[in-house]
Symmetry: C2
Subunit: 700 residues, 2 copies
């Protein structure tokens, strides 16, 4: 719902045009010049409706932020919108270097007309389907941000910051009218703090990142085989024995929940059971399905230990535990996991076999369904609705539970057909190092989904999942950002916003803007390279890293016996999941081969030469640092294929076809260069291959 304007605006028209249209139309110019002068085309996620105006609102030291509307009488109440306004002004000062004259921490009270004015009707609740819409009107004399709830104001501040532009006179916001609201109400990121613990500051900076791209759910995967990550005052041995000392205290949880709420973000806690639960049994082996003893699991995979549903004593324990956790986490939802029950312990335990027989349970699924029903009663008793992975879907569950699909959109549709709400995570596994475009084009509710209107309304949204086998606090941001901004756009923006090239263009300024929040996705690559090199001269490693990506999917696990204590400080950990320069190289190859871009050949040559000449610069670094020696195949192969990429380019620019034997020989080397090395792979093999193929004179 879009709240009507307090005062009619000449700029406001009844017909809005889709933001994606404007972005597409303005893209080529903006890409050629600096993104800073093109705030209007850099918006991410793209708003629902954008209507550009004429003129600009100048941003200088005299600008003030003013609270209007229903909250204006209490303008000195330093509530969530006030605090968001203060952060907005601090970030605006940070980006412009302006010494703003207003003391926006002390007062955002009215002081005459003009300025940046915000208003809202009521405080938004942190529940699904709350109103997050806003309108933003930039005119030469004032900026007006209006919303039904303060959540809309928070979302609008982010849009306004993204509008910042510059000309020869200084900074400005371009005149525009934006009417915006999210497509989906559940826009989340799961962070797995079980497999690798992530301390408070990692969670906080990622909460700021989520808020910047208008996400509204942080799903904390708090317990795993590898760690129990939250303090229990009722059962303190859980975190004392199950965490290696790496857990959130309850004070820290309260701090995180408040920090998230201040940014309009819900925190949904997950306690994964009955499987994925080894760390619980270090303290309480008696609740598992085999005698134990248990140690914290260091390896990754699907393990045997599981709660024993046939043991009546587990239910009072879980009752007391969830009572405590229900008090700690205010969100109406609580996630009980439920995925990947390995089953071996259940099958090996005679008492469990007897229990299944007695109850007439045909299989382990039926046993798990029984366990879930018991859990559901406990959660209901403590005022929580249940969320769980696909596996929990079973007949007889109440309709207010939420199914989170890791298996695929089909199971979501099935659930919706039965009347269950769902969120999609399949296709958003950002730990698997797939391209942003792959996630971007994955839609929780495709146009052809076989659902009626009621069914469609049950698809609440989705969650990106940051599973943490292979990340540490040092590297996790680079696995989340900037790709999660593309997912955020899928969840927020109209379904028709699907221009992949435009998304990638906007991802660059978005990524840079995310850095101001303390996110380390860009800056920690050099840190890793400096540590590896033992020095500050790491340019040859940077050049190589931009042509390399980590192995994708689960392939990296085949390269070493990874555990939660393994080092994640190697060259592969400095490589982005998707190299934007490598992608750009591929696009330039395509433009060149299509004959569309006259400067493409020179760009390609410069890049290929830098790769060809890089290997001799890498060699002394490898000689000094044993940890770097594994990159030799990558560096050598990059030099090799870059070398004949240049030969192919030469042939193509001169119009000379290469002989078949040459092509065949190069294809063999390319096949060799495509192989994994140092747990990574060259990301430019296919693009160079296209040059080689084309140089035969047979390709387009």
């Amino acid at each position: 719902m879009i709240r009507s304007f307090a005062s009619p605006s000449a700029c406001l028209a009844s017909v809005f045009i889709a933001a994606s249209f404007i972005a597409a139309a303005a893209a080529p110019t903006a890409a050629a010049s600096r993104p800073r002068s093109g705030g209007l085309v850099d918006l991410m996620p793209s708003p629902a409706h954008v209507r550009p105006g004429d003129g600009l609102f100048r941003v200088d030291e005299s600008i003030v932020l003013v609270r209007d509307g229903a909250g204006a009488a209490a303008a000195e109440v330093k509530d969530r919108a006030f605090r968001a306004g203060a952060r907005f002004m601090a970030r605006l000062a940070g980006r412009t270097g302006l010494f703003l004259k207003q003391d926006y921490l002390a007062s955002q009270a009215a002081s005459g007309p003009g300025g940046i004015r915000y208003a809202f009707g009521e405080a938004g609740r942190l529940v699904p389907n709350e109103d997050e819409s806003y309108t933003l009107t930039v005119e030469p004399a004032s900026v007006r941000l209006e919303a039904k709830t303060d959540l809309g104001v928070l979302r609008g501040f982010e849009t306004l910051l993204q509008l910042l532009s510059a000309d020869e006179k200084g900074y400005y916001f371009p005149c525009v009218t934006i009417a915006d609201a999210p497509r989906f109400t559940w826009r989340g990121l799961l962070i797995d703090v079980g497999r690798h613990f992530q301390p408070v500051e990692v969670i906080k900076r990622n909460l700021d990142g989520l808020a910047a791209v208008k996400m509204n759910v942080l799903h904390l995967h708090l317990t795993e085989d590898q760690g129990f990550r939250v303090e229990s005052k009722v059962f303190p041995r859980l975190h004392e024995l199950g965490s290696d000392g790496m857990y959130f205290t309850q004070a820290q949880i309260r701090d995180l929940v408040a920090y998230a709420a201040d940014r309009g973000i819900r925190v949904v806690p997950e306690f994964d059971m009955p499987g994925h639960s080894t760390s619980w049994f270090v303290a309480y082996p008696e609740f598992s399905s085999a005698p134990g003893p248990y140690a914290i699991e260091r390896h990754f995979g699907i393990f045997g230990p599981a709660f024993n549903p046939a043991n009546e004593r587990i239910y009072p324990f879980l009752d007391a535990f969830f009572k405590e956790m229900a008090g700690l986490f205010p969100d109406p939802y609580l996630h009980i996991g439920g995925d990947e029950v390995e089953g071996h312990q259940w099958e090996a335990n005679p008492a469990i076999r007897a229990f299944k027989a007695k109850r007439g349970f045909a299989d382990n699924n039926a046993l798990q369904a029984y366990f879930n029903e018991r859990l559901l009663k406990i959660l209901t008793k403590h005022g929580k609705k249940m969320v769980g992975w696909d596996e929990i879907l079973q007949p007889g569950l109440p309709k207010d539970i939420v199914i989170q699909s890791w298996r695929g959109p089909k199971s979501l549709v099935e659930a919706a057909e039965k009347g269950y709400q769902g969120i999609l995570s399949n296709g958003y596994y950002i730990d698997l190092c797939q391209p942003a475009a792959f996630h971007y084009l994955n839609d929780p509710l495709p146009a052809d989904a076989p659902l009626d209107e009621r069914g469609r309304s049950l698809i609440l949204g989705g969650e990106a999942t940051m599973w943490a086998e292979l990340v540490t606090p040092e590297t996790i941001d680079s696995r989340i950002w900037p790709r999660t901004a593309a997912i955020a756009e899928r969840f927020w923006s109209p379904a028709a916003v699907r221009d992949v090239d435009d998304m990638y263009r906007r991802l660059v300024p978005t990524s840079i803007a995310l850095e101001e929040l303390g996110l380390t996705h860009l800056k920690n690559a050099d840190l890793i390279l400096r540590r590896l090199a033992g020095g500050t001269d790491v340019e040859p490693l940077e050049v190589l890293a931009q042509a390399v990506e980590p192995l994708k999917g689960y392939a990296r696990h085949d390269q070493a016996d990874y555990t939660s204590l393994s080092p994640f400080t190697r060259f592969v950990d400095a490589c982005a999941p998707e190299s934007l320069p490598a992608r750009a190289f591929g696009r330039t190859v395509d433009a060149f081969l299509a004959g569309k871009d006259p400067v493409a050949a020179e760009e390609l040559r410069a890049r290929l030469e830098s790769w060809r000449d890089n290997h001799p610069l890498v060699l002394p670094l490898m000689a000094a640092s044993p940890a770097l020696r594994e990159i030799e195949p990558l560096s050598l192969n990059l030099a090799r294929i870059a070398g004949f990429g240049i030969e192919a380019l030469d042939g193509l620019t001169r119009g000379e076809a290469r002989p078949a034997a040459w092509i065949e020989e190069k294809r063999a080397v390319l096949a060799e260069a495509a192989k994994p090395a140092a747990h990574a792979e060259l990301a430019v093999v296919k693009a160079i291959g296209r040059l080689v193929d084309a140089s035969a004179g047979t390709a387009k």
Copy 2:
């Protein structure tokens, strides 16, 4: 005290040689090759005694960490040494990329001979003059780290990590015997969280940095005119009204104190009074010396508001407050500030004038002495010893207080002559952006200090002071590190370790090693430059930044009306307080002019050409980003003076003297180029000036 070895070592000789001698002898080779292969000469702070041995201890995946000695019976007790050992192994894995086989988080129990073995006698107390000594013996078959207390083990782990070296076969520790102990017992860093608040994660990563260079005191300056930064449950309006919401909760303070203790670091809290106290009076104007009302101060300087010593009601208030804080901070010392009482409020208040007259107080110093005596009684009642700045020194104070000198070493000597303990901060004001060498050569206890042995024993050490007018969480690390490592060496190492060039050489690997702790001193410069440029291509800005330093001393305050809300995101904030590349350029100029270095001319030419050619690359970045436009004089002047630096170099290499008119013209430009711009200054003007002067043929 050095604990004797559990088993006699053939490697251990009765005569140790000073580490500085080894470092100096090995320096040239190590500087030319990679520092990683020279761990033995990179130690910082330099140990008291180092005796190199033959051979090496190979570091591979099979190495284990083993607890021996008095604690071995309880080897599974996960005490401070155990946790430090786990961090040591994680950092070793991080630096080497090795998948260590030992689960060092679960057990460091003995498993046969060999490995890295540590032992200690007892848990060290976090008080001055506790034993922190250790011996470290690396032999081909084992490493032995032994100490009287676990604090010595912590210090020794840091030394061992610094010893990491590499050869063609992999990583190793060189055989060596080190016997080490600190020169001073109070080795601190003050962080001013009053003027700019620094959240928990900033303090934690700096605690890790302090531990890495063997510092042992964190002095938290918790209250200032600009903010009251700690939660008081007794008087909650203090933090609620005095902090803009930016304060440490008591849970966070306990977490910080425990985190510091785990690293062998004391936390000394400071509550500055009677001046520097505006933020207290926002909640309690009645305790000040003028009616109020008061607002949180945004500007910097020395302000009027001060507690009213004549108001008897302040003492029960302070009694209750310090009782609460004494319970929160376990350190035996509590700092009451006492500096820079402006006095105006006292002089303007008739009741205070009458109080002074009645008591026969000649001046405000006498009034402050009275206030301090009352405070001292309160602190004593709550079990705390008093620390204060110079101004608190007055007749009649007990001898267990500590004077912290910001005025100079003379006042320390005077205090010691009277029997008072002292710590030096004068000369360690790292906020003033002075060179590391300046701080390094500043000694708390110079050889010529006119003190007897008793007097010398009263000089406990010193503290670097990170005053926070001009820093934010984003920039503070770059103001602290790596220069504070040089100060740490002054406090830890023998007085004779004073080789400035060798210190600078070791500062480079030390700085890189500090990054693994999450410190942002290197990586945040690029972040600031990327935000300014609105893009990732910031190399021209990096080139310029390496030739620029922030204005020194208090000169930056003359450039703008700085407040605690000003942006610290400009170009100057990306510049290191001391540019190590600029310093290296100056040393190369000197080497060239002394005719000692045949390759110096080529190095100088390359560097000067990169500066000369940089300005055209900076121009488009400035055009796109108004916040960058202020750097034009810096960029243009650097190009100009680099240009005639090359001319001077040409003349000198060809043996042609430049005419006097040329010299005079260039000196005028150099004088112009030396002027401040963008709150910064070019750091290479003098070095280029030396080339110009020499090219007249008159200089050496």
